[in-house]
Each structure stands twice: as structure tokens, then as C-alpha cells.
Symmetry: C2
Subunit: 617 residues, 2 copies
């Protein structure tokens, strides 16, 4: 953003693109190129917006865009007078109407994210070069010879790329392929290897880590693998992992090594499945929560865990795959998603990118349900975000018969009449229940009148009167009342059941989330009726039943079709960043567009939280 626009506050401008008619709103100071690109409108470019290729020519039909320092090298004075500008240098500080000339070549695009059409412009580029051999009359250095041949970019050179450059050039008869990440030359390979260009997008979760191997030439995924984060022995959630580093001075290093092992194993697996040499993977993208990201880079996470919850850096300095301990091309950079705050991390920014939360006209509510639940609300006009400490209920960690979503876990519960039907993962006998089963069970029992709105099991006599058959499942285990979901023998102790305390855990969790979105709504001055869509993100969100989520008050009471499971949007966002430099800067812009609201500082939090503990009437 220009200083002028920044000084003018967080104003937004409207850009209308001709002849396609694209109509885009964005923050003042956005370049015309970015605004077009974020919205799938293709403008020619090979340099990625560095102002060096001079191909992104557009004409301003309405509105004023000052002549940039690069424009006079691309246009005649007459053209400048008629409104021609380089789109990558044209900052929109007021509403504009822009004419985009037809493309010389059709841009490649890929469909990723939540129905988002991403124009392929990966950071990783390859250029096949046929160089002239040096002579006594032409003693240009090897590096300068290569750099000069890539004349639409102003290349920086990685020192490691220089080591064997002389040998490679001579052995390959000066027919080589330059490997470029953004504007950095990381290697020169013999012959023409332009078809061989890959990246891995990692979703680095606390529980699960997912790797996506991408063919950058086509935008297509070649292989996807996931596995449990090897940091599990140090604790299931981020707080216990940070605590480990505080108790034991060696734990940070050990945790970092476990992260590297996890990422490396996934890298090996996707490369094997995709039939790709790991050294031909030239970049990795990482989205993860702040704790996972900091630990994976060996950055002390302690300040994240204690008030006032300070992150090392919202935008980390540029790092490499080697900094993550991951063996890909030895000089492969790593793009790390920026974070809004200690508990709204890069995974959520990636999710916002994939869902286009900050670029959509509709007001949408984004919830990534988990131990720490991240919530964002808004539209292209304004987005606010916060984190709600929901506790471990959704991971089913503190739930009596809780278990991870694995074989034997009840993931769905339905009560019809006297019948209880269970959905069990793997279609086997149930051995426990996972988070979505917990939410379903509670929602169904509230619906059946066996749980009252305050969250207490109704008295035995009232239960027997309302549901003589089901009431038989309302028994005691020790001193505690429980509801048996599945008998295993006659003893309630052996059954899979829901305890009174489990219900309390869930109430705590859902109240925390509901308080979060309630505060965000008051921040925007809107009510639930103004929300067009609720996006449930993350692996847990994908399994959650929208009806149950409404019933327990986890999400606002909206028509069910408006509550959608968005899937692994973080992973989709990571793919988008691998495929497009423009999406990467869109991710970066999210930090300026979204306001982070800290809940722990608010005086009204406790009142609202208590209001939200009950189940909606």
C-alpha cells in the first residue's frame, strides 16, 4: 500500500475492468495488477510484478493513476497521456475503470480453494537458455552471462548457485535451465528441464500434517499424504507442547526435530508417489498455527502461551526448506503464511485466502473448530477475527468415552422415536465417540428433552415420563449420571456413554466459540440475520453436522443450507500460495485487512460467555 493510502486510513476503492466487466473492491493502495489477479482477471506478466518485464500494460479509462518511475520506460509520452500504465505499478487510490488488452497467450489457471480460479504464476520459474560461449573478446562472467539472459527479471543470485555453475555451463555446452524462485536464481541445471517443476504445500497441524505435491507447470496435485504430527508424545495441544519447552531446555530442539521428521517423511512419500526427485522440488509452502510454525523453525514459543500472548513476528523473515530441516532442492525457499496474532495463525490466513473471505460481497462467518477455535467474520468491506480458547472437548480429549476420529469412533448420533442410530467410523462396533459424535449426541438429547437447556440431564422421573424406552439408558456410573449410547455388556461402566461432565465440557467449548462470534458481530454492528454463510473449517468442521451445530448454539441459528463445511481450507490456501505469487501477496494483504480482536482483554467477555453456556431454546 502506498504511504498516501495508508495515511488516508483503511479506505477501499472500486475497480471496474473492461471489457470483461469485472467489478472488484479492494483496499486503497492495491495495485491494479493485484486487484485483477485476485479476482481471476488475467493481465500479461512474466516478472511477477517487479516492474521489470513491462508486459502488464493497461489503460486507465476513468480515475487518476500517477505515472510511476517505470512507466516512462514502457510507454511513449502520448501513451502515458492516454492513460496507459503498467498495472503492477499502478496503485489504486481512488475508484478506477481499467481497460485490459487481450492476452497474447492464454494464461494457465487451476481451480483450488473454495471454487477459486487461480491464475498460475508460481514463485518458482524455469527458463531454458542457450547462451553464447565466452571468448577472449567476451569475458563476461558466468553469473552475469546467465543473469543477462533472463532480461525480464532483475535476478538476485544465491551464493550456492555459483559453486558449480562454471562446470555446469561448460559440460552442458551453455544450454542450461535457470531455476528461479521469485527473483532469486537458486540453480542452473544442464539441458532443458523446464517441464520438471514442483513444490510441496504443507498444512502443519498440531494433530495432523498434510503434504500436497504440486506440478507447477499445470497446477495439478501429483500426490497428497497426511500423517500424525510426530510431536504427539509432547502433548496433544499447543499449550502442552509449549509447556514442554518451558520445563525442559532441550525440548524445543527435540520438538523441532520431530516437526522436521514429520515434514520429511511426508515429502519422501509424496515424491515417491508422484515419481519426482526430491531435488526437483524447488519450494515449500507452510501454513500452520503460530505455535507449530515457531517450533518448526526453532523459535522460542514461550511468549505465545502467557498473557499478553506475543507472537515472534506476524510476517516471518524469508526462510528456506533447510530452515525447516526439510530435504528438497538444497536451496529451496519456504514460504510461511503470515499470522494475525498468537492464536489466529497462518493456517487461518490460508483459510481466509482459500475462502476469499476478505474479497467477497457477502458477510460470512468462518469458524475453525478446535481446542483453539479461530473465528473470522466479515466481507470485502471489513473483516474482524479472534481466537476462542474452546478447550479440548472437540478433540474429545477430556471426554469420558472420547477418542480421536478413528475406527470405532461414533461420529454421528440420531434419535428417532425410541431408536438411537449411530454412525461409527469403519462400520464396526463402537468403542468411543469423537468430537462430531459428541456434538450430535448432545444436540439429539436436547432435542429429545433428555437434556434441559441449562445442560443438565432431566430428573429420572421426568425422563421416564417423556421417553420410557430411552430413559433406561439414563443411568449412573459411580456418582455421575450418564446416557448410554451403546451398551457393551450389562455394566454401564463398559458402555460407550455421555456423562454429565462431558456435556459441561461441550457447553464450555461451544460457549467460548459463540462468545467469540457474538463479540465479532457486535464489533461489526450486525446480527446473525446479516450472515449469509457460515463456513466450518478444519478437519473437525468437515464432520460436524450443521443441524447439531445450530441446535447446541455453536453457530448462529441460520437456515441449514447456509452452514457449510469448507473442508481443509488451510491446505487449499497453501496450494494457492504455491501456485501464485499474487495469491501470496493477497495472503499478506489479509494482515492489513483483518482486524484482530483480543478476547482476553475484554471486560464484557465473562458476561457474554455465561449467556452463551445454555443451549438455545
Amino acid at each position: 500500500m502506498s504511504e498516501a493510502a495508508a495515511a488516508a486510513g483503511t479506505g477501499r476503492v472500486r475497480l471496474q475492468f473492461r471489457p470483461d466487466g469485472g467489478d472488484v473492491r479492494g483496499p486503497a493502495g492495491t495495485t491494479v495488477f493485484d486487484a485483477a489477479s485476485w479476482n481471476g482477471i488475467a493481465i500479461d506478466s512474466t516478472c511477477g510484478g517487479h516492474g521489470t518485464c513491462k508486459k502488464c500494460k493497461v489503460r486507465v479509462l476513468n480515475g487518476a493513476v500517477p505515472v510511476s518511475s517505470v512507466d516512462p520506460r514502457a510507454f511513449t509520452i502520448d501513451e502515458l497521456r492516454h492513460g496507459w500504465r503498467l498495472a503492477c505499478r499502478a496503485e489504486a487510490t481512488e475508484d478506477l475503470e481499467i481497460d485490459v488488452p487481450p492476452l497474447q497467450t492464454r494464461p494457465k489457471a487451476a481451480l483450488v480453494g473454495v471454487g477459486r480460479h487461480v491464475i498460475l504464476r508460481p514463485s518458482v520459474q524455469k527458463r531454458y537458455l542457450e547462451l553464447t560461449e565466452p571468448t577472449l573478446e567476451d569475458q563476461v562472467s558466468d553469473v552475469e552471462r546467465v543473469v543477462a539472459a533472463v532480461d525480464d527479471l532483475e535476478l538476485r543470485v544465491h551464493p550456492g548457485a555459483v559453486r558449480m555453475l562454471g562446470r555446469t555451463l561448460r559440460a552442458a555446452n551453455y544450454q542450461v535451465t535457470a531455476v528461479i524462485c521469485d527473483d532469486l536464481l537458486i540453480d542452473v541445471e544442464p539441458g532443458d528441464t523446464t517441464a520438471d517443476r514442483h513444490a510441496i504445500a504443507f498444512d502443519l497441524g498440531t494433530t495432523t500434517v498434510v503434504a500436497n505435491l504440486l506440478d507447477l507447470a499445470t497446477g495439478q496435485p501429483l500426490a497428497v499424504r497426511s500423517m500424525l504430527n510426530r510431536q504427539q508424545p509432547f502433548g496433544a495441544d499447543v499449550i502442552s507442547r509449549v509447556s514442554a519447552t518451558m520445563m525442559d531446555p532441550d525440548a524445543l530442539e527435540a520438538l523441532q526435530a520431530r516437526a522436521a521428521e514429520t515434514l520429511n517423511q511426508l515429502a519422501a512419500e509424496v515424491c515417491e508417489e508422484g515419481g519426482i526427485d526430491r531435488e526437483r522440488v524447488y519450494e515449500m509452502v507452510v501454513c500452520g498455527n503460530v505455535t507449530m510454525t515457531q517450533i518448526a523453525l526453532g523459535i522460542d514459543p514461550e511468549p505465545l502461551a502467557m498473557a499478553p500472548f506475543i507472537i515472534a513476528a506476524r510476517r516471518l523473515p524469508p526462510v528456506t526448506a533447510a530452515d525447516f530441516g526439510v530435504h528438497l532442492h538444497p536451496r529451496a525457499p519456504a514460504f510461511t503464511f503470515p499470522a494475525l496474532g498468537a492464536y489466529v495463525g497462518g493456517d487461518i490466513v490460508a483459510g481466509m485466502l482459500a475462502t476469499g473471505l476478505t474479497r467477497d460481497r457477502r458477510v460470512r462467518l468462518f469458524i475453525d473448530v478446535g481446542t483453539n477455535s479461530e473465528i473470522a467474520l466479515g466481507s470485502q468491506d471489513r473483516v474482524v477475527a479472534t481466537a476462542a480458547p474452546a478447550g479440548p472437548a472437540f478433540e474429545a480429549a477430556q471426554i469420558k468415552c472420547g477418542m480421536r476420529a478413528a475406527e470405532g469412533a461414533i461420529e454421528g448420533v440420531r434419535i428417532e422415536g425410541d431408536e438411537i442410530s449411530l454412525e461409527v467410523i469403519g462400520d464396526t462396533d463402537p468403542v468411543g465417540m469423537c468430537g462430531s459424535g459428541l456434538v450430535d449426541a448432545v444436540a439429539q438429547l436436547v432435542g429429545a428433552g433428555l437434556l434441559d437447556h441449562s445442560g443438565r440431564f432431566v430428573p429420572d422421573d421426568a425422563a421416564a415420563e417423556a421417553h420410557p424406552v430411552l430413559a433406561r439408558r439414563l443411568v449412573k456410573v459411580g456418582e455421575e449420571r450418564v446416557f448410554v449410547l451403546a451398551w457393551r455388556g450389562d455394566e454401564p461402566e463398559n458402555a460407550v456413554y455421555l456423562s454429565q461432565r462431558d456435556v459441561r465440557e461441550l457447553q464450555f467449548a461451544k460457549a467460548s466459540i459463540a462468545t467469540g462470534w457474538s463479540i465479532l458481530m457486535s464489533q461489526l454492528g450486525i446480527g446473525p440475520e446479516d450472515v449469509s454463510q457460515v463456513l466450518l473449517a478444519g478437519s473437525f468442521g468437515s464432520y460436524l453436522s450443521p443441524a447439531s451445530a445450530v441446535r447446541i448454539g455453536l453457530v448462529p441459528r441460520l437456515p441449514l443450507p447456509r452452514i457449510v463445511s469448507a473442508g481443509n481450507v488451510a491446505g487449499e490456501g497453501a496450494k494457492m500460495a504455491a501456485l501464485s505469487l499474487r495469491e501470496r501477496s493477497a495472503a499478506d494483504a489479509i494482515l492489513d485487512e483483518v482486524e484482530y480482536v483480543e478476547l482476553s482483554g475484554r471486560a464484557d467477555f465473562n458476561d457474554m460467555f455465561i449467556d452463551q453456556l445454555a443451549f438455545p431454546g
Copy 2:
């Protein structure tokens, strides 16, 4: 240099500074700040020319300087109209008269190089910061908190500096010292460590390596040490070391390791002598010939050794002490002097910087005498440079009684009447002769008429007639005529002598150098009489007798006071680069200012070479 100035060719402009009256010529496109700084005229600045501190305010009294993009943030429109500009952004594309306001603080300066007054502005800076503690209302990240406190710089942040930042800030109660190299934050130290700021300047020679530990706060050297390059077992000169890498695939790695060992041992020694923790050395500067520099960085040197003699890069990408395998501060950068060509390397550029060759009104001839001799000629108007393959005579390697300049080496010879007096290193009995002794011996024998101008010992009868006493020293060893400098017993075989072949070796070497400067003179269209000064550089140059150098025709025939030994100017240049970012950019500018002349491509070389073989009449 601006593109406009570059397009305008290699024009030069004149800058007159008021009120001091400094009168400076430089290449068109030089900034006013650089031009002033290179000439010891102090202008305020804390950011080092990045346009961020806005302190380098000057007023243009005569001549036009366009308003830069940063100027409007530093000046009112009225001030701009009256010629006020930021000196670091003001490119001189025509002759200018500049008013420099008096400084707020007196700049520190140090005397280095050949009488050059260097204004201290090291790349390494420290800033003591007292930061406000974060709160729930002020959740600015740790990195952003530090970066914001250094508001005159636009800091980049080293990822490694982030790792323990959180812990350091909290343990030090937010009272910390930022360690900055150029615009890169490499560390944050607890408390106020601003007084503790060091760098090591290395002169990485093929034979000898010198390290200078510098206190960057004062510009003073704290310790100097030198030692033989541990690569010696791979050969005495650069060609044999390159050959080693071509014969044995492991040799490059081995040679690189030896360079690292040498540099590390010197670093340890100077730090111990200076009483400085190695981790408090934040930068190293390296000047060396191209082969030594490339090998030390693990860059394949093979293309240097074969026509057309191609260097990996004239300007290497930014590297670190770790890239050189040197243990200083773990994130210490390394500044490597740029090179003009395969055989006019960073050591010579450093020498040109230290002698101010490209900034002086006088026409001067710079010769670094050695196996590969580098020669540069010119003044502030134009400088040309070349390399002459002098062979090993000056290192006394192929000389029959030759030895390195160590104890027992004859380093000076004088014939007066029938007397021969010898200067011997260590004042002991002579055991051989080093390069300067060889030059002296030949020069004295030519003067005495015992060697004719073609380089042959005169016939015995002619010798006996001219010098009956000295002629007794003209004897035979085997079939070859020799002149005995020092008897050791009766047998000539055991004496320290000069052989006919030794004379031939020296003739070859000096003819090569003389051909070099002759070609450079013809390139500039000048004769010896136009040369104001001859600078003999390098360790060998320091010991050479000017009279003998003239007598054998190694240097042009000039009055002896005009032939000066410049000492280790490369090492001085390295110190200057450690002490001043401006000197560093002056070194960089030398690459654009000096024209490299390749001798091996020239048709006239052989003719001129044969002309130069004889000793001047």
C-alpha cells in the same frame, strides 16, 4: 549509476562542495553523498544511504538535481524549490555546486590506506533500545517492536535472529542492543553492548594470509596476525592449486577446508590478542585474488585457469562468514571485494581503493609484483588495468639459489668498486636469495658491466679487463656460467650464486610486466614521462629497491622519489571496507570505472614482449 547516466556513457562530472571548498570529480550518476564521502567531506547520515534516516540534507547551489521520490518526505515544497535535496538520493549527472550544512555531531574518522582519511560508518551498527513491554492492548510482535524502535532504518530481519528474541527481550526487561549489518538485523543482545563492536579484515593471499581485528567504534586495529596459507601443500601458486582441483575431484573441498582453517586460526589469534569474544565479531571482509576467493567459497575455479579465463562473478552474491567456514558471530556477513577479471581480483580492487587510484588527479602506475602481476594505470579521468603472467621468478621459485624471504635470504645486493655488500634477512650467513635480492643482483651486475643489456654474462676476458677482482666470481657450475654472491667454501656448487638461467627467468618476468604497462600506456595514449608516481604494491613490492627496478626496466625510468613502495595496500583496502559502507560502494564503483585489458588476446603482445626483454641502456 542512473540509467540516464549509464546511457550517456562513462562521462564524469565535477562537484564543488561549499563552504569547505572540496572539489571532486566522479563518474556521472554518482550520488552527492558518495562523492562527498569518498573525499572525506562529512554529511550527516545514520541509515547509510538507504533514504530512510533523511538526515543527509544538502542544498544544490548550481546545477540541476531532480527531486527524488524520498525528497518530498524530507522537505517542504519551498525547500525543494530552493534546491534542498537528500544527498544520498541526489545523482550528479552534471557539474554541481553543493552547500553542505555544518554537522550536528563531529564524525569519527580513521586514517587508513595510503594516507586516506575514512569517515567511520561501518556496515555493523549497534543500537541500544529501551522498549515498552507488550500488554493485551499492545500485542505488537517481538520482531516488529524491535524494528519499529530503529526508525531511521528499514530493517530486514535474519531468521536466526528471531529464534531466541522472545526470551532475550523478556530476560533483559526489554533493554537490549540491536546488532545490524547494513540493513539486516542479525541479533538482539541483552543490555547495552554498543561499545562492543568488531570486524576482521582478511587479506587472503596465495602465500600469506593476514587478519586485522578492528574496533569499529574507534576504527583502530586491535590486533594483526599473518600466517602462511595452509593450501601450500597443493602448490605455491594459483595455477597449481587450480590444477589440483582438476586432477582430484576431492581437492576443491580439501582446499576450501584449508582456507577455512587458515582464516579460523587467524581469527582465533587476533581475537585472543585483542581480548575479544569471537561471537562479538559481527562481520568479516575478504580481499583476495579471484582463485583464492573462489576456492575459499567452494566455487569451482577451473574456468579461471584456461582461456578465455572466465570468472564466476565479478560481484559475488552476498555471503556470510559461515560460507567461508569462519566461526565469528553465527550470522556475521562477509563482504567480499569484487573483481575486475580472472587475474585482476579483489585484492587489486582493494589496493586501488586504498591508494585512491581512481580518485586522484595524478596519473599513477600501480604494480602488484608477483607470479601473476597486476598492473593499473590512470587517474580520476580514466584507469586501465591488466594482468601480466610474470612467472615465478619474483617468488624465487625457479631460481637456482632462490628461497622465500626468510632468515638467511639475501634481500639486497650492492656493488661498489670491488666490494659486494649483501643484506641478509636475520643478519646471518646467506643461504639463498629472495626476489628482491635477485632484482638487486641483476641490476648491480648490469650496472657493473658484468651482464650486458641482452642479459648475457660478458665473456671472461672482457669481465677480467673491466673488473679483475669481481671477475673471479664469474665461474661455471656444470656447463652454466654463474656469478657467486657469497662463497661457502671453495666449491662454486656450494656458493649462493646467480646463474645465467636465473637472469633469463627474471628477464622473462620483468618483460612481462613492462609489456603490461607499455600496453596500458598506449591504451591511454601517454608515455612514461606522464606518470607522476609508481606504486609498488604487495609484500614483494615493499622490499624491491626502486633503483634496481628502474635499472632492470621493471618500472618506467622515472626519478627515484616517484617510485614508492605502497606496502600491503590490499589489506588497507579491506580495513577501509570494514570501516565504511561508502568505501565499500567506492570499491564497487571501481568495477565500472576501470577498464580491464586482456593481454592474451592481443596481436601486439609478443612484439612488445620481445622489445622489453633487454635491460634498458
